[in-house]
């Protein structure tokens, strides 16, 4: 039997790239949005099974998560304190970096997910993760470095599959 060449009809690489775009896009968008999250503690009456205030008159503290522009925080304060002590990370660089990190993650995530200049979006996302890796190396967060390395590897694979890009709003 003669094997029929079917490389043009093999949709595997296309689906692989699509899967990577969805994963990387959702990951970046959710991470960016979480930087606008915060929690607040409310005091509300304790309700019984019938939904009426408990006879003790007790008040309970309930924690609620919420999102707002005002709540924006690029990275946890504890990590920010550690970066502030690093000579390679001067404030005139880190301040604008913190300012755009969340927005950049959301924008690049949307770009990768919807296929808006897919190559450029993937490459910039990779650079962003490399920049984060640099900071984590300085403060010896090896687990975080490994974690980001997986992301960068996935981006590299996605870039190598870009010629199979489909379901994209713009050309790659």
């Amino acid at each position: 039997m003669t094997e029929t060449p079917n490389s043009n009809r093999d949709c595997g690489p296309m689906l692989a790239l699509l899967l990577l775009r969805v994963w990387l896009g959702v990951r970046a968008i959710a991470t960016g949005i979480e930087k606008f999250s915060d929690s607040r503690t409310l005091q509300v009456p304790l309700l019984d099974a019938a939904g009426k205030p408990d006879s003790s008159g007790a008040v309970v503290e309930v924690t609620q998560k919420f999102y707002s522009l005002h709540s924006y925080h690029a990275i946890p304060d504890s990590m920010k304190d550690k970066f502030a002590q690093e000579p390679f990370l001067p404030a005139f660089l880190t301040a604008p970096y913190y300012g755009i990190l969340g927005w950049a993650l959301i924008a690049l995530g949307i770009g990768v997910l919807l296929g808006i200049f897919t190559r450029a979006s993937l490459f910039l996302m990779g650079l962003l993760y490399v920049s984060l890796t640099f900071g984590l190396i300085l403060i010896k967060q090896d687990a975080g470095v490994s974690w980001l390395a997986i992301h960068v590897a996935m981006i590299a694979v996605a870039l190598s599959l870009c010629r199979h890009n489909r379901f994209a709003l713009t050309c790659s």
């Binding site: 005091q43 509300v44 304790l46 309700l47 099974a49 408990d54 006879s55 003790s56 008159g57 007790a58 008040v59 309970v60 503290e61 309930v62």
Partner: protein, 457 residues
């Protein structure tokens, strides 16, 4: 306070007092049908009306109560009473700063004879004066909130219950945890309704404190020996440190233990059957009462026997603060007036508590942040007989007031006829009898049987 022997007052009623009591009791019986469903309310202070009160005893505890009462709407201070001019003046000036022009008295009888508009009296003087003052106030027609212990003698405590019944007036005892919403939810919802602990088999409570010096006083404020003797005190040192002397108080088991042993009785909803104890005056040479004590009660509950261990140490604050802990087959509840000592633990094999979590009766403890010291081996068993680790929760109920305020509010609401007392004297007597039994067990170094008849005033 008045210059007479409080012990004699508690032991028996004189002829004149008997006539006064009998008259008051007769009036009470005659008026009983007219009272509200909650009983014993004050018609003149109906629904939110102002209640005129006097504070007897402006020492440390009196000042705590005074601060709590200043936050309660509708409570109007009319008088303060204290044998120590220094404390009396402090109370008068402090209340003036807070908008109350009060009259000050040395003797409670003088106060009762001159203050005609009082509805209630709050008693926070040394224990041995509780019974005489409370009894006189009740007989004068006033409702009384009296600090625990009710008395330093069983006879004194019993006389208070009897006078409350004779006069028909309200007598709330200051076991303030009984009005604390955190305790109410824990007892009524988590233990009773939800039975989250399963069968309770053990309890333990403690209040440990570090070594501290005796209380002093500014030299220029010292009272004369004559004045002190008139009110039953040997000298100024005993007056300031009355809690350590048998003539005036009940020692640490009474001062600290009474609150927590009350929680054993209240949560178990019964009295103990026996108590055994050990303790002694091992450190403080100038005190009469014991420094440290450990007692074990046995309670017969509907599900079976439960034992409750209680310790009070005044020579070390180690051991995890002050709390009352109830341990069952499915969970453990550690309660304390201080929320930081409160936790609830679920045994690994117990049914899930998700429903109570979703209704905010419980909340999962936040996991502690990982540290460099944490390692997987930290959670490993070192002995094959260890039980699986318990899941930890906290009680999200918050008390946004001073810890005594809800109990005082309950008292004033009862005076207004809008509530029933959370700790009337006859109920408090049962808990205080358990304390007296514990003291007896420690002092006699024997197993003491708690006959139910002893617990009835």
């Amino acid at each position: 306070m008045s210059p007479r022997d409080p012990a004699a007052d508690a032991e028996g009623l004189g002829r004149r007092r008997f006539l006064k009591t009998a008259t008051a009791a007769g009036l009470s019986l005659a008026l009983a049908p007219l009272r509200s469903a909650y009983g014993q309310g004050e018609p003149g202070a109906a629904s939110g009306g102002e209640i005129n009160i006097a504070l007897v005893g402006v020492g440390a505890q009196g000042r705590v109560l005074m601060d709590a009462m200043l936050k309660i709407p509708g409570v109007r201070f009319a008088a303060v009473c204290d044998i120590w001019p220094y404390a009396r003046t402090y109370g008068q000036r402090y209340l003036k700063k807070n908008g109350f022009e009060v009259r000050a008295y040395e003797s409670h009888q003088d106060m009762l004879s001159k203050e005609k508009d009082l509805q209630a009296v709050v008693v926070a003087c040394p224990d041995f004066w509780h019974a005489p003052i409370t009894n006189d106030c009740l007989r004068a027609g006033h409702h009384v909130y009296c600090e625990k212990m009710m008395s330093n003698t069983i006879a004194g405590a019993r006389s208070m219950v009897q006078t409350m019944k004779d006069t028909g007036k309200l007598l709330q005892i200051g076991h303030q945890r009984r009005s604390n919403p955190r305790y109410l939810v824990a007892r009524n919802r988590l233990i009773r309704d939800a039975r989250l602990l399963g069968r309770i088999t053990a309890a333990n409570g403690q209040w440990n404190r570090a070594v501290s010096a005796d209380l002093g006083w500014p030299n220029h404020t010292a009272m004369t020996r004559e004045l002190l003797a008139r009110y039953g005190y040997g000298d100024m040192h005993q007056f300031r440190n009355w809690r350590w002397f048998k003539k005036y108080g009940g020692g640490p088991l009474s001062d600290l233990g009474a609150h927590q042993i009350d929680i054993f009785n209240w949560f178990f909803d019964t009295i103990p059957s026996t108590v055994i104890g050990s303790g002694g005056r091992d450190y403080y040479t100038g005190h009469e009462w014991l420094d440290n004590a450990m007692v074990i009660y046995e309670y017969h509950l509907p599900d079976g026997v439960a034992r409750a261990f209680y310790q009070v140490q005044t020579t070390t604050s180690a051991g995890g603060g002050y709390f009352e802990q109830f341990m069952g087959t499915e969970g453990t509840l550690r309660m304390s007036e201080n929320p930081k000592y409160t936790s609830i633990y679920r045994e690994a094999a117990a049914p899930p508590w998700d429903d109570w979590v979703s209704r905010h009766y419980l909340a999962p403890q936040k996991a502690p942040a990982a540290s460099d010291d944490d390692s997987s081996s930290a959670n490993e068993k070192v002995d094959a007989r260890e039980t699986a680790e318990l899941a930890s929760y906290y009680l999200p109920v918050v008390l946004t007031k001073a810890i005594h305020q809800p109990h005082l509010e309950n008292f004033f609401n009862a005076v207004r006829g809008k509530a029933s007392l959370n700790c009337p004297a006859d109920e408090a007597f049962k808990s205080e009898m358990a304390v007296f039994k514990a003291i007896e067990a420690v002092e006699t170094r024997s197993l003491v049987t708690c006959n139910p008849s002893d617990f009835t005033a």
